[in-house]
């Protein structure tokens, strides 16, 4: 029975220290980089997850909403644990636990039984259904399944059940976020548009953003303006809820009534164009009022653009408190610019994030030398290129679309930089390259409270530069010789 591959029996040889040293040196070379970049099929250490993860994050952003994976239970456990580890918060979600027989009979029975149980146990105000691979491959018809569930009485008549097809063999977690958001908005706003009605509110979409403090920062800015708003997919309480001895299954999220009325908004603003590629065009066609798409407001200019847009949309002046805040942020940047100017960085992550990193770095006089997106596109590349072209500090920078973190490692070893901006998964490459990793992305499994410190707005710019500059200063203190160990830096 053994040895089905017909292998010759060999002695245990192990890996010799010489071989290890030789290959260690080899993988740092330009020759290896060339081989590495010639890869056609193997993906090593990608920087993105699959669609349903984003769908789940989105679903958690709505009041009383239970995320529901139609598919294998293992998938649901992976999404949940990823969110648990990043936020250090609960991520209550269910699956309908499809197994082998689902491949034969389809997943309708699982979905119906799952809805019945989940509703009885967890009393959701909305169930947001999304798919993992199995039902996508076998071609389950969610629309029909859910209609049947209502007819057969597994679903209360009034309970909204938006659903999104989120195949993992397409796009990334960002795509899944978009698909779920679109479905939730379509479901909640159906028939709610009232001619002539205006909520007077701004609908804000932060996108796939796993930094709860960013949501709070947007709210603070809008409050400073006195602009009433509805944040669509508001995860700030869901993933940063107080510990007062009471576990709340649904601690926050956008109120469903408000989300439904968003269709009558005064204006709708997406701050994550790449996370709303499908949702925003639909909004433009269906939501009342003005529509605007701005890049994620990282750095001064992008935050300025946000404030100017808010000012324009609501015909209000930029409040003094935010003007002062801008001044303080710029002051912090001029004070600290010498610690970042001319430094080279590599950045990777989701499109909306890397564009923000690049904008911020250029403002500091730093060079985003390698810009990498493991789920890239021509459009992302064009946007990054435009940013780089607009600054003298973008000259000579490289854009790497659809490359992974093993490619990045080769880049860091052969064309080095001073620092890396990304998420926890970059720590291996950063360690090998002996450069600091700044964990501004998602997920962060190995540091505390990153998601409690905003990286958007003027505050975000100060936070980022503080973290980056102080790390460089720590490194100087830790590594300089005795003669150069000084009081002042």
């Amino acid at each position: 029975m053994a040895n089905e591959l017909g292998l010759t029996v060999k002695p245990v040889s192990g890996i010799t220290p010489e071989d290890e040293a030789r290959v260690s040196a080899w993988i740092d070379t330009p020759e290896y980089r060339e081989k590495n970049f010639a890869r056609q099929a193997l993906v090593i250490n990608p920087a993105h997850g699959c669609q349903p993860l984003g769908a789940e994050l989105c679903a958690h952003g709505f009041e009383g909403t239970l995320p529901f994976t139609h598919g294998s239970q293992g998938c649901a456990s992976y999404y949940r644990s990823t969110l648990n580890r990043h936020f250090r918060e609960p991520a209550p979600a269910v699956s309908d636990a499809m197994t082998e027989d689902g491949a034969v009979f389809g997943g309708q029975n699982n979905l119906h039984e799952g809805l019945e149980n989940a509703i009885a146990l967890y009393h959701p105000k909305m169930v947001a259904v999304f798919t993992s691979c199995m039902p996508e491959v076998i071609g389950d018809d969610l629309s029909a399944f859910i209609k049947n569930a209502r007819q057969k009485g597994f679903l209360p008549r009034e309970l909204p059940v938006p659903y999104a097809n989120t195949p993992s063999f397409n796009g990334s977690h960002v795509t899944g976020y978009d698909a779920m958001l679109l479905s939730i908005l379509q479901t909640l706003t159906e028939g709610k548009k009232i001619e002539g009605r205006c909520t007077g509110k701004l609908n804000v979409i932060p996108g796939f953003d796993a930094n709860t403090a960013n949501y709070r920062e947007y709210k603070r800015i809008l409050d400073a303006f006195g602009i009433p708003f509805t944040m669509l997919a508001d995860i700030s309480e869901s993933f940063d809820s107080p510990n007062d001895g009471n576990y709340r299954l649904y601690p926050g999220g956008t109120p469903l009534v408000e989300a439904a009325d968003a269709v009558n908004g005064k204006a709708t603003l997406t701050l994550a164009p790449y996370a709303t590629l499908k949702t925003f065009p639909w909004i433009k066609e269906n939501f009342s009022g003005a529509h605007a798409s701005l890049p994620m407001p990282m750095g001064i200019a992008r935050t300025d653009a946000l404030l100017l847009k808010l000012s324009e949309l609501f015909d209000r002046p930029v409040p003094d408190v935010l003007k002062a805040e801008r001044g303080r942020a710029v002051d912090a940047m001029t004070d600290a610019q010498q610690y970042m100017h001319g430094k080279k960085f590599a950045v990777y992550g989701d499109a909306d994030l890397i564009l923000g990193y690049v904008a911020f770095l250029l403002e500091m006089g730093a060079t985003p030398h390698h810009v990498l997106c493991s789920k890239g596109s021509k459009k992302i590349e064009k946007d990054v290129q435009a940013l780089l072209d607009a600054s003298p500090y973008g000259k000579g920078a490289h854009i790497w679309m659809n490359r992974d973190l093993w490619h990045l490692r080769s880049l860091l070893m052969t064309d080095p930089v001073d620092g890396l901006l990304g998420d926890t998964h970059g720590k291996f490459a950063a360690r090998d390259a002996k450069i600091p990793l700044f964990r501004f992305g998602f997920p962060v499994f190995d540091r505390v409270n990153r998601h409690r410190s905003p990286i958007v707005g003027y505050t975000g710019a100060v936070n980022m530069l503080t973290e980056i500059c102080n790390k460089f200063l720590d490194l100087v203190d830790e590594t300089c010789d005795e003669r150069h160990f000084e009081m002042m830096r």
């Binding site: 053994a2 993988i27 056609q40 999404y79 209550p92 039984e113 576990y247 709340r248």
Partner: protein, 481 residues
């Protein structure tokens, strides 16, 4: 192993059954019928398991279970350090299981150990046209870029089995072409009911493709053993190996924590298999017993009482040299362990613990908690089988609640009723209970600590449990206003 009929004040069969019935009330009829047999008061004397297990998860209940792929990649294959493990299918499965189990490895990442994420990153066209060709190409690329890898495992994700790819044929062909073993593992997540089938499939794959393909170069001795079912979480294998070496045994292979494919492949030459995690690897122990006549012993390295007992049990299998060594080692560590107990026990005496872990640890750690004066008032597993529950019931006090594949609803209810001082479970449960103001330790990952196994592990375990239970932060939960 247990004293006859341990008891806990206030817990009776009636009180536990009442608590279970209350938890079941919330279910619709069908769900209640399915869940009821998985929950029961413990009967330490019973011959058969008091709960049903290894059944399909009830849809919609919020189970903590993973899938066959998780059992194959995360548990059995992933820790084998000298192989490239390809997550074959879409990007997610491999991404979520990348570095999230804490099976530590010796060697240099990307050079001599491969704790990374390798994936075929299936796209729509791979689903439509099949992924076999892509697989053949990526295997070549892996061999070229990672020349020191001793083999490559191909771990199928759901779509691979559904679209009818033949990874076994590709593996066979590429094994010849690349001159390293390419091991196909049909562990699609939809197979079976939990991680457990993934363990079994992986064991079978090791049986079919790996074992007997290597021979140790050093001469055989009567003290050659393999350490089975230790995954080196937080360094457990290293601690266990040190102790086994200290009593004079040669640990020839570790399955699979910090494991090497080559040594696993030569395990048919050992004299005894020592198995820690029975659930995930009893299959291979049985195979090696039947095929090569290698006996196996289940042992337990959690807490000084169990360690001592296990060492003596292991010594029984060897000559006086080992027996003497064991007594010497016990004499050496007894006072050290006593110091640990003396330090922590006064702060932990009488504290109640509830456990919900994978397939082994609830029963295996009962003794370690008891060494610290604590009492386990509830235990259950995500993916255990009847034989696991049979091994659990004698360890647990009379009438305490036993739960199989518990839903979050059930766990929350039991915890509210029993008011334990500590809950030990997984990441998905952790923050729920911490929000309730309850101390919690992750018992899959050792909550980023460890090792917990053997004599090096117990002081860490004791410190961590004390830290969790007695952290002053819990006292801040209730605000004065």
């Amino acid at each position: 192993m247990s004293d006859a009929a341990k008891k806990v004040d206030g817990i009776t069969r009636e009180s536990t059954q009442k608590m279970i019935d209350e938890a079941l009330e919330a279910y619709p009829e069908k769900g209640r019928k399915k869940r009821a047999p998985h929950l029961a008061p413990n009967d330490p004397e019973a011959a058969a398991s008091c709960v049903k297990s290894n059944r399909k998860t009830v849809p919609g209940v919020m189970s903590a279970r993973g899938c066959a792929y998780a059992g194959a990649k995360g548990v059995v294959w992933g820790p084998i350090r000298d192989m490239v493990h390809v997550s074959h299918g879409p990007v997610g499965c491999g991404w979520y299981s990348w570095g999230t189990r804490r099976n530590l490895m010796t060697g240099k990442n990307g050079v001599s150990q491969f704790g990374m994420q390798f994936t075929s990153d299936f796209q729509e066209k791979d689903i439509v046209y099949g992924g076999d060709k892509k697989l053949a190409v990526l295997l070549k690329e892996a061999k070229e870029l990672f020349p020191l890898a001793k083999g490559i495992s191909v771990l199928s994700e759901c779509p691979v089995g559904l679209i009818g790819d033949d990874i076994n044929a590709v593996a066979k062909k590429m094994t010849k072409e690349l001159d390293i073993p390419v091991i196909p593992c049909n562990c699609e997540g939809f197979r079976g009911v939990s991680q457990s089938l993934g363990h079994h499939i992986s064991n079978d794959t090791i049986r079919d493709y790996i074992i007997e393909t290597r021979e140790f170069v050093e001469p055989e001795t009567p003290y050659d053993i393999a350490l089975i079912g230790d995954y080196n979480i937080g360094g457990d294998v290293w601690s266990a190996k040190d102790l086994l070496a200290e009593i004079g045994l040669n640990v020839k292979a570790t399955w699979t924590g910090d494991g090497e494919m080559e040594r696993i492949a030569a395990t048919h030459r050992v004299k005894l298999n020592l198995i820690h995690c029975y659930r995930s690897m009893n299959y291979m122990c049985r195979v090696m017993e039947e095929k090569y006549g290698i006996p196996w012993v289940e042992f337990n390295f959690f807490g000084p009482t169990n360690i001592k007992k296990s060492l003596r049990m292991i010594a029984e299998r060897f000559d006086d040299r080992i027996k003497d060594n064991v007594e010497k080692v016990i004499a050496k560590y007894d006072p050290i362990m006593q110091k640990v107990v003396d330090e922590y026990r006064p702060r932990l005496e009488g504290k109640k613990v509830m456990l919900y872990v994978g397939g082994l640890r609830p029963r295996h750690t009962v003794g370690a908690y008891e060494d610290l004066g604590m009492v386990v008032v509830g235990a259950g597993y995500e993916f255990a089988h009847g034989d696991d529950y049979e091994r659990t019931m004698p360890e647990m006090p009379e009438a305490t609640v036993i739960y199989d594949d518990a839903s979050e609803h059930e766990l929350e209810h039991f915890v509210k009723e029993l008011q334990p001082d500590l809950v030990g479970s997984g990441i998905k449960e952790k923050y729920l209970f911490q929000k309730m103001g309850l101390p919690f330790r992750q018992m899959h990952s050792w909550d980023y600590s460890g090792p917990y196994h053997a004599y090096q592990g117990f002081p860490v375990f004791a410190r961590d449990i004390d830290m969790a239970v007695n952290s002053p932060t819990w006292k801040l939960v209730k605000s004065p206003f």
